[in-house]
């Protein structure tokens, strides 16, 4: 998966858990919570979807790495290198 794919993967997940949010204009380096309304429960959903779709386990101490799209890319890139973007 390329970095662009990872961004798309996260956006796809956000659309699933918060269908009324606009993900198109999300900025890479700004915290997701500052751009859309996601609470801690929504982040648990992101973690669950990452596991379900890509088999990636994000341990609790690493939840903070999912704060922005860029930090998601940085953190997930090694785990997703050999995975394909799942179409949704």
């Amino acid at each position: 998966m390329t970095n662009e794919d990872i961004v798309q993967a996260i956006k796809d997940i956000i659309i699933t858990i918060a269908p009324d949010e606009e993900v198109a204009g999300l900025k890479l380096d700004v915290s997701l919570r500052d751009q859309i309304e996601l609470d801690s429960m929504d982040f648990l959903d992101i973690v669950m979807e990452l596991r379900k779709r890509y088999g990636v386990n994000v341990p609790e101490e690493d939840y903070k790495e999912l704060a922005s799209l860029q930090s998601c890319v940085d953190y997930l890139a090694p785990h997703l290198a050999d995975k394909e973007l799942v179409a949704h």
Partner: protein, 470 residues
């Protein structure tokens, strides 16, 4: 070979169904087990003599529009990925607390309650506004806090009658303890009932449960009816699965139980069951009735949605001991008095009065029936003191006692609001076994769903290296 799953949920009420959906959504193979032939738990439905009856649901609390995203109802629906619009919620027309000398009206517009307090308790107006602001700024879930709300409110408001009247609907709709409630629960009740308010899904509890069971199926979860759990299997402090009444063993490393805290301890057997015997059981239980009327209730003059009555100078909310029921204090619900409901040819009227479980357990067949009828007549007589007399218009009815509640929900002593001290952290003492539902500290249908979905999310997000399901 025993059947395997990633997760098992005990009980198909709103908490269990919400938990099952969230677990299955996370990709875990999930089985929701229900002892009865029907789902819904404390909020179920059935047909009798060709007529529909709902159990439990008078009102959905926490009425909130979709735009109020942080509030419990929109939030939990989003977590379950069910559009809030699908509930087709209709707001209440208006509710009332009736005491002998004074009444307080309230609706989903908080200002109505505030102006009623200003008009009827002018000396307390300023103190009430301060309290309202304090509570508005308080988050939905506060931990710890004082044990007695009564003491706290009396300090702030200085008027016993006003304290009684403000607490009355809140105690009735969710206190597991007599006369008083913990501050943390009070805050939740205040917000759910006074700040957010009552609504009803169009068509009542059926469409709501249909959405939940439909969503569970859609995400691959399984609902198994007539599957009572005999034992929760565990070894060396870890959950291994469940043994069903029919001898079937289902293996799973995760079990979420909505059967109640004490009831779940009993299912663990051994020293857990011994501990269960010493745990306090909830004492608040009720006699409920559902009457069908020959014409619509509003056409007979019933104009309120919910009426919380109290026929004593001081508010009464306690077990009716030693009597089988106490109709001096109760709740009247007119399901037609929500906006957007389909017109029904027959009216429906529901009542709830105080009771106690022990008396009913000891009654034999004939005496049981006679007491049921007596409780019903007393309930309708009480209603006729502040609303039209429904008795000449009743064409069909059913009455539920604490015994009915225990039979259909497993809750000991018919304790619909569960144990007095809540298991806030959902822990059971066995790894992989979590308590959800009433005893998890959340209230009502919305609270049950919030709690079930929340616990499920935490355990599912943390469910590392589950064995693959064959």
């Amino acid at each position: 070979m025993d059947e395997r799953a990633d997760a098992i949920v005990i009980g198909a009420g709103p908490a269990g169904l919400a938990a099952g959906i969230r677990l299955a959504q996370a990709g875990l193979s999930t089985i929701v087990l229900e002892r009865h032939w029907l789902w819904g738990g404390l909020n179920s439905f059935y047909k009798l003599g060709g007529r529909n009856y709902d159990v439990g649901l008078h009102a959905l609390t926490n009425a909130a529009p979709k735009s109020a995203r942080k509030l419990p109802l929109p939030r939990v629906m989003r977590q379950l990925r069910i559009p809030l619009e699908a509930l087709e919620l209709g707001e209440q027309l208006g509710s009332r607390t009736v005491f002998p000398s004074v009444s307080l009206d309230f609706s989903n517009d908080f200002d109505e309650l505030a102006s009623q307090v200003r008009a009827k308790f002018p000396a307390c107006a300023e103190a009430f506004d301060k309290l309202a602001i304090e509570l508005a700024l308080s988050p939905h879930g506060v931990e710890g806090g004082p044990a007695s709300t009564r003491t706290e409110l009396l300090q702030r408001l200085g008027d016993e009658l006003l304290v009684d009247m403000l607490m009355h609907p809140l105690l009735w709709y969710g206190s597991p303890t007599a006369h008083d409630v913990s501050w943390s629960l009070f805050v939740v009740l205040w917000k759910s009932i006074y700040e957010e308010g009552f609504a009803r899904p169009r068509g009542g509890v059926r469409p709501l449960l249909k959405l939940l069971t439909g969503r569970l199926r859609e995400v691959g979860g399984t609902l198994r009816l007539k599957s009572g759990v005999q034992r929760v299997l565990h070894d060396d402090g870890r959950t291994e699965g469940v043994l069903l009444d029919d001898g079937t063993v289902l293996r799973a490393p995760l079990v979420l139980s909505s059967a109640g805290y004490v009831e779940t301890l009993r299912m663990l057997g051994g020293t857990f069951a011994e501990r269960a015997a010493t745990e306090p059981v909830g004492t608040m239980t009720f006699v409920e009735s559902c009457s069908h009327l020959s014409q619509s209730a509003p056409s007979l003059g019933f104009d309120k949605t919910i009426t919380f009555w109290n026929h004593s100078e001081r508010g009464i909310y306690a077990p009716s001991t030693p009597a089988p029921f106490d109709a001096r204090s109760g709740v009247l619900c007119i399901p037609e008095n929500y906006r957007g409901q389909d017109p029904e040819p027959e009216g429906v009227l529901r009542t709830t009065v105080l009771s106690n479980a022990a008396v009913w357990e000891d009654l034999d067949g004939e005496a049981y029936g006679a007491q049921k009828e007596a409780a019903y007549q007393a309930s309708l007589a009480a209603v006729s003191t502040f609303a039209p007399d429904p008795r000449p218009h009743v064409i069909a009815k059913d009455v539920f006692t604490p015994r009915t509640i225990t039979h259909f929900t497993s809750k000991r002593a018919g304790a619909v609001y569960g144990i007095p001290h809540k298991v806030d952290d959902a822990a059971s003492g066995v790894q992989g076994l979590h308590i959800i539902g009433t005893d998890n500290g959340f209230l009502g249908i919305v609270g049950a769903m919030v709690g079930g979905a929340g616990v499920a999310a935490f355990v599912a997000a943390g469910a590392q290296g589950q064995e693959a399901t064959p």
